[in-house]
């Protein structure tokens, strides 16, 4: 084992946990009127940790410790960068939104950080219990965040729904884990892989399917996607953004590690591959088709994010290295593209108290920057060059075609062209309609920064994807070793 200092390795997690506690304490101690500093405090600590993690990705020691319980490889660090970037963008874009909340708002940032911590644990988990603890930390934080607008019936309803359905999915996941423990006597991924062996028994089949179902819930894979639209619609918009982006990415981090390390090693991989292909195809088709008639921007983005999960699944089917690289690349650009769209949605919903697409009418005139950012983000999600989504989809689908699964790539391409239809319907409303009677809503401050930043990243990576692609390759290769 390499010599390393555990504090340098665990620094980001420790800082995030500490900050979460500190923010909670500040909220309790500082009077209601003086809490404006909490947002900058959160933002700056996230920036600090993000910079450290980026440094760590390139130069830090890579190791695993506690007998492989917690991995600190480039794969995990890559995802930590992603979560931290997503959290930072959510914090930056939610300032005005959170200012409007009731006096309990100090918990918002604290909970956001604890959810981030849970995700970071999930990315690093080398065994199932650690993974589960991280997952629950994230999920429980989200239960509260989703129901944050306690006076709003839809938000409360969403919170309850998420609690019940999330609880059920956790139970299924736990059942799978306990079956695996019963079969192999271990929760460590590496050990499970060797002990589970090449034979597919009914018990191991059941265990794997339960694990997949539990994680499939988090990434809103069809047929476990039904929760997503309602909860995305009801939750406060910044929370929806974080839920759609980061929690999905975290579940993907776990899925890649668990699926590629353990499930792929056993005879399950043959049936599992078929199962995943069918689910991915269904996810892409249903997500995109049901998105077409939506009239609420958050529901539209919810279905679009279901479809995006389908694209990402394609990369898992392709497997290492090219497929995993595709997933990592796409997950990162998905953060920026989606964050841009959600920042605009947050802005509009905060200024106009509406999430209906028709209230985006004439946004081009009322807030040119927001309209341009929304267009760029949606087109990146649709995979139109020169935006980053195109390169991402290219990586994913060329990887899977290389493995001989042409049909799924074909479905993916056709469905992403179908998705252009509903993305353009939003663009149409923004550019074509005059939006008479709606207020001018210029963008300022941190929100403006978020919008410009996400759009620039989306454009720059689309035109010159090499640096991010190299990071993704390094991360994908670290997983195989």
């Amino acid at each position: 084992m390499v010599n390393f200092n555990i504090t340098t390795v665990l620094m980001p997690e420790v800082v995030i946990a500490a900050m979460s506690m500190i923010l909670l304490a500040i909220g309790l101690l500082v009077p209601h009127g003086a809490r404006k500093g909490m947002m900058p405090l959160t933002a700056f600590s996230l920036i600090g940790v993000l910079c450290y993690t980026l440094y760590d990705f390139f130069y830090g020691p890579k190791t695993s410790f506690l007998d492989g319980m917690y991995m600190h490889d480039q794969f995990a660090v890559y995802f930590k960068v992603l979560f931290l970037a997503a959290a930072l963008l959510v914090v930056l874009s939610s300032r005005d939104y959170v200012q409007k909340l009731a006096e309990h708002r100090y918990k918002f940032y604290s909970l956001l950080l604890s959810a981030t911590l849970g995700m970071m644990l999930m990315a690093g988990a080398g065994e199932l219990i650690t993974m589960y603890v991280g997952l629950e930390l994230m999920t429980i934080s989200f239960y509260i965040l989703v129901a944050y607008l306690a006076n709003d019936a839809r938000s409360s309803e969403a919170g309850i729904k998420y609690l019940v359905l999330g609880g059920t999915s956790s139970a299924i996941l736990l059942y799978g884990i306990s079956l695996i423990y019963g079969l192999t006597g271990s929760t460590e991924l590496v050990k499970i892989a060797s002990d589970l062996g090449g034979n597919l028994t009914p018990a191991s089949f059941l265990a794997t399917v339960f694990l997949l179902a539990g994680l499939g819930f988090k990434i809103s894979l069809v047929p476990f996607h039904l929760w997503a639209p309602d909860i995305y619609e009801g939750a406060p918009t910044p929370v929806t953004a974080f839920l759609a982006i980061a929690s999905k990415a975290a579940a993907f981090a776990v899925l890649i590690r668990v699926y590629l390390l353990t499930m792929n090693s056993q005879a399950f991989s043959v049936t599992g591959q078929t199962l995943l292909i069918v689910l991915a195809a269904l996810t892409m088709i249903l997500g995109n088709l049901i998105a077409i008639p939506q009239t609420n921007i958050k529901r539209l983005l919810a279905y679009s994010s279901i479809a995006q999960a389908g694209y990402l699944m394609v990369g898992i089917i392709a497997g290492p290295v090219a497929g995993v690289k595709g997933v990592l690349f796409y997950a990162m650009i998905y953060v920026f593209a989606n964050m841009g769209a959600f920042a605009v949605a947050t802005h509009v919903s905060e200024r106009q108290s509406s999430d209906e697409i028709k209230d985006f009418a004439g946004l081009w005139r009322r807030s040119p920057l927001a309209a341009v950012v929304m267009t760029a983000s949606l087109l990146s999600l649709a995979g139109i060059p020169p935006l980053a989504g195109f390169v991402g989809k290219f990586y994913l689908f060329s990887a899977v075609m290389d493995q001989g699964y042409t049909a799924i790539a074909f479905i993916g391409f056709v469905m992403s062209m179908v998705s252009v239809y509903y993305y353009l319907s939003v663009v149409k409303v923004m550019f074509l309609a005059e939006g008479e009677g709606l207020p001018d809503i210029p963008v300022h401050g941190a929100m403006k920064f978020t919008m410009v930043f996400t759009m620039l990243i989306t454009l720059v990576i689309g035109i010159y994807p090499t640096p991010l692609a190299q990071m993704a390759v390094a991360a994908a290769q670290s997983l195989i070793q």
């Binding site: 060059p385 290389d402 062209m417 239809y421 390759v473």
Partner: protein
């Protein structure tokens, strides 16, 4: 490339040609939206630089040497093997020139645009650069990237500045977009399959010449499937029957400049792609599907011409006539011989200039009379003689009158195609009669006949409005009277690029063929 002391030093020529409109676009972004005169001037200057540079490239190109010239290659995405590679040869240079001729004219055809002028010219310049990029790219990935860039500006331009006639502009815009995007989905699958097959020996590549050099890696079965995918993609772009129905609706809904660029150059990307990618890289696939292309092409020529006979709206007449003319390009591609291939490229150039002029003139007529209905117009030659001249030139070029560049192109195509596709060519030549019928009838009804007093208030085109007429009109006649300027260039492209050799091999192969 081999040593080219005179031209290789000009490796930045093409990037500058591409960037000039983009620089103009960035300038416009920072101009206040009230100053529409300045915006138009900046746009025109950007396009003028591009036009001047591409004219220089056209005449500085060394035809004896042939091959790709003015090349620039920068490794772009190493892990995919993508190179930012630019370069032009005798096949792409006419298309580049065409893009800039039409782009420059399109700015002037929109000179009276006052509604949201700033956004209009921003999108128009993005559109023109996107089209230009496809013709100078030597890398399939970059080619595709530029191709898809153009789709979204077109959509936005159609829905905002378009016109609602037989169908609403929203419908027209969406139909156009969906057709092209579904086509490009097929294209993408074909492209990735080709890329993966070519990567079999280690180094992945997207370069056109490398892909063509690795033909031994593509099995005949693979070539047939990959070509079919590309045929669908490029075919729907060049409005191949029966995937043509977006084209008349789209042109009718679009604003003048978009119709000009779309009919003039954008759909030519389909023909260019079929030659550059289909015939060059997948000759066996091309040979296999050629009979089908030839039959569908007859569908284009005759069916679209028949429908054009029955149209009442000027833009629909030209829209269907452009579908009809694309049939000639497809016949030429299906003939798979050097003469016909030369004709195909010449036809794309000739039709582009003609269609752009036609749409520009229709745009002016509509702007002044607020109608495009043939029955409501008449005798316009009395009031607007210059506009009528432009309309006449475009119409006569459209029916292939000798003396226009279109005649040269059609003649070359029939010369090449008659050797291999007798029946289809004869049917295609018959199509000229129908073209003559609907074009002459349209000209007669719109321009001639008794003077109508309701049009007495019209002012003739003047000043900047004359630019499309003068520029495109003179290209039509110069190309028609001195055909060697154009044909010599294309011929050098066909022979030096190896296309002639590929075609010779393919035409001698007795195997294959769908029928």
């Amino acid at each position: 490339m081999s040593a080219l002391p005179t031209v290789s030093s000009l490796s930045m020529l093409l990037p500058f040609t591409l960037l000039a409109p983009l620089v103009a676009m960035l300038l416009i972004v920072f101009l206040p939206k009230e100053e529409s005169k300045t915006i138009k001037l900046v746009a025109a200057m950007g396009m003028f630089v591009s036009l001047a540079l591409s004219l220089y490239a056209f005449f500085a190109y060394d035809r004896v040497l042939g091959g790709m010239q003015f090349t620039l290659t920068i490794p772009w995405i190493p892990d995919l093997g993508v190179n930012l590679a630019f370069g032009v040869d005798g096949l792409s240079l006419p298309m580049l020139l065409l893009t800039n001729l039409i782009g420059f004219s399109a700015i002037y055809a929109s000179w009276n645009m006052e509604k949201r002028a700033k956004e209009y010219f921003i999108l128009l310049l993005i559109l023109i650069s996107g089209v230009m990029g496809t013709f100078i790219a030597r890398d399939l990935f970059i080619f595709f990237l530029f191709y898809e860039i153009v789709v979204i500006p077109i959509y936005i331009m159609v829905i905002i500045w378009g016109s609602t006639k037989r169908v609403t502009k929203e419908y027209a815009g969406m139909k156009l977009t969906i057709y092209l995007l579904i086509g490009s989905a097929f294209l993408l699958v074909g492209m990735i399959a080709l890329y993966l097959a070519a990567a079999a020996n280690g180094h992945p590549t997207f370069m056109f010449d490398e892909l063509a050099a690795r033909q031994s890696l593509y099995s005949p079965a693979f070539q047939k499937i990959a070509f079919a995918l590309m045929l669908f993609g490029f075919g729907s772009l060049i409005s191949m029957f029966p995937f043509h129905s977006w084209s008349p609706d789209g042109y009718a809904g679009a604003p003048t400049a978009v119709s000009m660029i779309h009919a003039g150059v954008l759909k030519k990307i389909g023909g260019y792609g079929l030659i550059r990618l289909g015939v060059f890289v997948l000759p066996i696939g091309a040979k296999y599907w050629a009979p089908l292309i030839a039959v569908l092409a007859i569908g284009n020529v005759l069916y679209a011409a028949f429908i054009a006979l029955a149209q009442k709206d000027l833009k629909y007449v030209v829209g269907y006539s452009s579908v009809s003319h694309m049939g000639y390009v497809l016949i030429a591609i299906a003939a798979l011989n050097p003469t016909a291939a030369t004709g195909a490229v010449a036809m794309m150039f000739a039709h582009g200039v003609m269609a752009a002029l036609f749409f520009a003139m229709i745009g002016f007529i509509y702007e002044k009379t607020h109608t495009r209905n043939i029955s409501e117009l008449g005798g316009l030659a009395h009031q607007v003689p210059r506009l009528a001249t432009g309309f006449m030139i475009a119409g006569l070029a459209s029916l292939g009158l000798p003396g226009t560049v279109n005649f040269i192109a059609e003649f070359t195509i029939f010369m090449g195609a008659i050797k291999v596709l007798r029946v289809q060519t004869v049917l295609g030549i018959a199509g000229i009669i129908f073209t003559a019928v609907y074009i002459l009838r349209t000209i007669a009804n719109v321009l001639f006949g008794p003077r109508r007093s309701e049009w007495d208030h019209l002012t003739d085109i003047r000043g900047p409005e004359l630019v499309p007429l003068v520029l495109l009109g003179s290209v039509i006649f110069i190309g028609g009277l001195f055909p060697n300027i154009l044909l010599g260039m294309i011929n050098s492209g066909v022979t030096s690029s190896g296309l002639a050799k590929v075609l010779e091999t393919v035409s001698q192969a007795k195997m294959g063929g769908l029928f």
